[in-house]
C-alpha cells in the first residue's frame, strides 16, 4: 500500500509539471545567442512537404513555414491570412500574406502554393496524399489568393486542422522542372521562416541562422539554432547537465533521467507543448486468431489491465487512460462518454471461463505471441507489463523482440502475431490520423493501419461519412459515435494516451508556448545568458 501511495505522489508531481506555467517574462528580452537542441535520430530529408514527421518538423519548422499554425488560442495565420469555404464545400479560398520573401529573395506567391499542393501534398506527402486525393486544382486568381478545388466536399475544419502539419508551401522557382525527390534542397531547405538553413553535417548537427528579412518585424530573437544528434540517451542527459544542450524533446532521455532532471531546478520538465502530438499506447489484436476474434475475450483482457498502475510506473504520471481513437486533446471530437473497462482480474477470469477458455492442465487458458514496437521506452515496458498482467488472468504471453523493420513486417505485412503494442500519434484530426486504425480495406503492409483482420461495414460507413461532413457540430457527434463503437467492440485497445515530454534548460525563454511547439517556428524564443 505504501508503494502505491508513493506512486500516487509521483503522479502528482507529474500532473504539477504538466500544468506548470511558463516563466512569465516580465524580464526584458535579450537578443542573440545560439540555442542548441538535442535530436535523437537523423533525418533523411528536411522537406516537410515530402515527409510528414515530427522529426522533420523539429528542424524544418524553423526554416519552412506552413500556411496555418496552431496556437493555444486556436488556428493562427502564418503564410495564410484568412480562409473560407464555398457553400457546397467544393472550393476553399485562402488569402496569402503580402511581402513574404523566400530565403533567396524571391517573392512568395500563390504559384508556390499551387505548385506544392499539386506536386507534393497531393502526390508525394505521406498522410496528405490520402487527404488531398480529391483535390482537382489550385487556382490563382491573383498572386495572393489560392483557391483549392475539390471533386468531393472537403470540410473546412479538416482542411485547417491538417495545414499546420501538411500545409508547407515550397518555392516553385527552385523545384519546377527538377526531379522533386532528388532535389538537393530537400536536405538544404529554402523557406520563408525566421531562420535560414546553413549546413547539415551528417552524424553531427544541423545549423540555421537568423533570417534578417523575416516578415514578422523584430523577430527572431536568436542568432542561431543548432540541432545536435545524440543517439545515446544517457549521453544526451549528460549533455543537458553539462549545459551543452538546451532542450531535448520527444522523450529524448530515459524516463529515469526525466524523473531526476525534473527535480533539478536548472530545467523545466513536462508535457506542455505536445498537446498536438499525443500518442496512444495500444494493445492490437490479430482477429484472424479465433480466440481473439471473440469480443468477450478482448473485453476480459481489458479488464485484466491495471491502467492506472501502468501510468504511474511506466509513464511516471505523465499520461491518462485512453478512451478510444480520439485522445482528450482532440477538442470537440473527443468524448469520455464511452464504455470503460475498470481493472478487475476476477471479473476477467470469469468472463474468460464464460467465453469457453477454462484454465488448462498447464495452468494457462491459452498462449499468445506478442510483438512490441521497438521505439520508445514506454512500448517495451508496456509490453512487459501486458505479459505480466495477462499471466495474472492465466493467459501465457510470449514476447517476440524485434527491431523496427522486423516489427512493421511482422505485424502489418506478414500478420505473424497474436497481439502487438506500439505507440501511434494522433494528428489534430481523426480523419487524417487514427481512423486508418479502424477502417478496413487498407492495402496489406501499410504500417499503422487496420491490418488486424477486423472488418465492420457499419464502422467503415461511419468513418467515410464523418470525413466529408461539413457541419462541425454534426461531425463531432459522428466522431463521438465512432469512439463509442470502438470502445464497445475493441478492435484495438487504445489503453493509454500520453503526450511526449521535454527537458528544457531554464535559460530558454518562451519555450513550449504552443501546442506543437517543437514543430513550430520559434520566432519568439530567446536565450537568457
Amino acid at each position: 500500500m505504501k508503494n502505491r501511495l508513493s506512486r500516487l505522489g509521483l503522479a502528482f508531481v507529474g500532473a504539477a509539471a504538466l500544468g506548470a506555467p511558463i516563466a512569465a517574462n516580465a524580464q526584458e528580452v535579450k537578443t542573440g545567442g545560439t540555442a542548441i537542441v538535442h535530436m535523437i535520430s537523423e533525418q533523411r530529408t528536411l522537406n516537410p512537404a515530402l515527409r510528414a514527421s515530427t522529426g522533420v518538423y523539429n528542424i524544418s519548422g524553423k526554416i519552412v513555414e506552413p500556411l496555418i499554425d496552431k496556437s493555444y488560442d486556436g488556428y493562427e495565420p502564418v503564410l495564410a491570412t484568412d480562409w473560407s469555404s464555398s457553400e457546397d464545400g467544393l472550393a476553399i479560398t485562402v488569402n496569402l500574406r503580402e511581402g513574404v520573401k523566400w530565403h533567396d529573395g524571391e517573392d512568395f506567391t500563390c504559384e508556390d502554393v499551387s505548385f506544392t499542393a499539386m506536386n507534393m501534398w497531393k502526390e508525394l506527402l505521406n498522410y496528405s496524399s490520402a487527404l488531398q486525393a480529391n483535390l482537382e486544382s489550385v487556382d490563382c486568381p491573383d498572386p495572393l489568393t489560392a483557391v483549392f478545388n475539390y471533386s468531393k466536399p472537403m470540410p473546412l475544419e479538416l482542411f485547417v486542422a491538417a495545414m499546420p502539419d501538411l500545409g508547407h508551401p515550397m518555392p516553385k522557382h527552385l523545384y519546377e522542372g527538377t526531379d522533386i525527390l532528388k532535389n538537393e534542397l530537400n536536405t538544404a531547405p529554402i523557406g520563408t521562416g525566421p531562420f535560414k538553413f546553413v549546413e547539415y553535417e551528417r552524424g553531427q548537427y544541423v545549423m540555421a541562422v537568423k533570417n534578417e528579412d523575416y516578415w514578422r518585424e523584430g523577430y527572431p530573437y536568436l542568432d542561431r539554432i543548432v540541432w545536435r544528434f545524440i543517439k545515446d540517451k544517457s549521453a544526451a542527459a549528460a549533455a543537458l547537465e553539462a549545459g551543452e544542450v538546451h532542450e531535448s524533446g520527444f522523450i529524448g532521455v530515459s524516463m529515469a533521467d526525466v524523473e531526476r532532471l525534473s527535480e533539478d531546478d536548472r530545467f523545466d520538465v513536462g508535457t506542455k507543448g505536445y498537446e498536438n502530438n499525443v500518442a496512444h499506447s495500444t494493445v492490437e489484436f490479430n482477429h484472424r486468431n479465433p480466440i481473439l476474434a471473440d469480443l468477450k475475450v478482448r473485453q476480459a483482457m481489458y479488464h485484466g489491465l491495471d491502467i492506472d498502475y501502468a501510468i504511474d510506473t511506466i509513464m511516471r504520471g505523465f499520461a491518462k487512460p485512453g478512451r478510444g481513437p480520439v485522445p482528450s486533446a482532440g477538442g470537440a471530437n473527443y468524448t469520455d462518454d464511452v464504455k470503460t473497462y475498470p481493472y478487475d482480474p476476477e471479473l476477467a477470469k470469469q468472463m474468460l471461463d464464460e467465453a469457453g477458455y477454462p484454465v488448462g492442465d498447464d495452468g494457462f487458458r491459452f498462449k499468445l505471441r506478442h510483438r512490441p514496437a521497438p521505439w520508445g521506452e514506454y512500448t517495451q515496458l508496456w509490453a512487459e507489463y501486458f505479459a505480466q498482467a495477462m499471466k495474472e488472468i492465466d493467459i501465457d504471453v510470449e514476447i517476440l523482440t524485434n527491431d523496427a523493420p522486423g516489427f512493421l513486417n511482422g505485424v502489418y505485412r506478414d500478420h505473424d502475431f497474436d497481439t502487438a503494442n506500439g505507440w501511434h500519434q494522433f494528428r489534430s484530426d481523426p480523419a487524417v490520423s487514427t481512423m486508418v486504425w479502424l477502417r478496413s480495406g487498407q492495402p496489406n503492409g501499410t504500417p499503422w493501419t487496420n491490418q488486424f483482420g477486423w472488418q465492420s461495414d457499419e464502422m467503415d460507413q461511419m468513418i467515410d461519412d464523418a470525413a466529408s461532413e461539413l457541419d462541425p457540430e454534426k461531425r463531432a457527434e459522428m466522431y463521438h459515435e465512432i469512439q463509442k463503437k470502438a470502445m464497445e467492440e475493441l478492435p484495438v485497445i487504445f489503453a493509454i494516451e500520453h503526450p511526449f515530454i521535454s527537458v528544457t534548460s531554464k535559460k530558454l525563454m518562451n519555450h513550449h508556448n504552443t501546442p506543437r511547439w517543437n514543430s513550430s517556428s520559434w520566432y519568439d524564443l530567446w536565450l537568457d545568458e
Partner: protein, 329 residues
C-alpha cells in the same frame, strides 16, 4: 638476404590475386545475409516517419530498386562494384563513397591514436609486470588491467563523461568539435583534440588490457627458454637481455593481436563512437543496420575486407622480420 626483393614481390602478387575472390565471396555472402534480415530500408524509413500510405511506400520501393528479385539486386550491385562504384545511400541521399570518406578521417584518427597508445603502453606495462612477476608492482598492474578488461566500454565512457564533463566541466560531452564555435587553425586542432581525449582514453584503456595481459604472459614464457639462459651465461646485461632477446620474441603473439585489432579499425568502435557522438564509421555502421541502408553497409564491409587483406599481408611481412625462422612462401 641477397635475394630478398624478388620473393617478396612474387609473394605480394600472389597474395593480391588470392585476395580478389576472397573479397568477392565476402561481398556476395554479406549481401545475401543482409537480405535475410526482416524488413528493408523503406520499412525502417516508414518506422521513423510514424506512418505513410501504401502508394508512398510502393513508389519508394520502386525508386530504390527493392521491387526486384534478390538475384537481380545482387547482380546490379556486383556489376557496379566491379567499377568501384559503391552505389547510392538512400538514407543520406549521397553517393556511398562520399558518405564513407566523410567518416573515414574521424575513425582513423580515433582508432590509430587509441591503438598506438594501447599497444605502446600495454607492451611496456606488460614487460614491466613480467620482469617483476608476483611483486606488488605486478599485482597493481595486473589488477588494473583486469579491471579495464572487465569494464564494458559504454560504462567506462559514461563514467568518464559524468566525472569530467558533468561534475568537473573540463571536457566536452561529445562530438568532434564545438558546433558554432567556428574555430580555425590551431584553435580548431586544440578543440578537436579536447573532444577526442575521452573517447581515445576509453578505447585505449580497454585495448591496453589485452596487450598488457598478453605481453606479460608471453615475456614470462620466453624468459624461461634456453636461449635466454645461454645469453645470460654469455654475460649479456639484463637490459640487453630484455630488449634484444626476450621482447623481440615475446612480441610475436602481441603483433598477431595488433594485426587482428587493426583489421577492425575501419569498423571503428560502435559503442564509443555512438556514446560520444563521433561521426565515424562505427556509428555509421550501426545506423546503417538500424536503417537497413544496404549500400552504405556493403560499402563499409567492402572497405573493411580490403583493409583486413592488407593488414594480414603486412602482419605476415612483419612476422618474417621479427622471427627470421619464418619464410615468406
Amino acid at each position: 638476404m641477397k635475394l630478398a626483393l624478388p620473393p617478396i614481390l612474387i609473394y605480394s602478387l600472389r597474395r593480391l590475386v588470392q585476395a580478389v575472390p576472397v573479397v568477392i565471396l565476402i561481398m556476395i555472402g554479406t549481401f545475401l545475409l543482409l537480405k535475410l534480415a526482416p524488413g528493408d530500408t523503406v520499412d525502417a524509413l516508414v518506422g521513423d516517419m510514424g506512418g505513410a500510405d501504401a502508394q508512398f511506400i510502393e513508389r519508394l520501393r520502386v525508386e530504390y530498386g527493392l521491387d526486384q528479385p534478390v538475384w537481380v539486386q545482387l547482380w546490379r550491385y556486383m556489376e557496379k562494384l566491379a567499377t568501384f562504384d559503391l552505389g547510392w545511400s538512400f538514407v543520406y541521399e549521397q553517393p556511398v563513397s562520399t558518405v564513407l570518406m566523410d567518416r573515414l578521417g574521424t575513425t582513423l584518427l580515433l582508432m590509430a591514436t587509441s591503438l598506438s597508445i594501447a599497444f605502446t603502453v600495454g607492451v611496456a606495462l606488460g614487460a614491466i609486470a613480467a620482469r617483476r612477476a608476483y611483486s606488488l608492482t605486478d599485482n597493481v598492474i595486473s589488477t588494473l588491467g583486469l579491471i579495464f578488461y572487465a569494464t564494458p566500454s559504454f560504462f567506462l565512457s559514461l563514467m568518464m563523461m559524468l566525472l569530467f564533463s558533468v561534475k568537473l566541466g573540463w571536457l566536452p560531452v561529445g562530438g568532434i568539435k564545438t558546433i558554432a564555435g567556428f574555430y580555425t587553425g590551431w584553435d580548431h586542432v586544440w578543440d578537436v583534440a579536447l573532444h577526442l581525449i575521452m573517447p581515445t582514453a576509453a578505447l585505449s584503456l580497454i585495448y591496453l588490457s589485452f596487450y598488457l595481459r598478453l605481453m606479460r604472459s608471453s615475456v614470462l614464457q620466453v624468459a624461461d627458454l634456453d636461449f635466454v639462459r645461454t645469453a645470460r651465461a654469455k654475460g649479456a646485461g639484463e637490459t640487453r637481455l630484455m630488449f634484444h632477446h626476450i621482447m623481440r620474441n615475446a612480441l610475436l603473439p602481441v603483433v598477431t593481436l595488433f594485426g587482428l585489432q587493426f583489421s577492425t579499425v575501419l569498423g571503428g568502435s560502435v559503442v564509443v563512437e555512438t556514446i560520444f557522438t563521433l561521426p565515424g564509421l562505427g556509428q555509421l555502421a550501426y545506423q546503417s543496420v538500424i536503417q537497413r541502408d544496404m549500400n552504405t553497409l556493403m560499402g563499409i564491409i567492402f572497405l573493411c575486407s580490403i583493409i583486413v587483406v592488407i593488414v594480414n599481408f603486412l602482419t605476415d611481412l612483419l612476422y618474417a622480420r621479427l622471427d627470421s625462422r619464418i619464410e615468406l612462401a
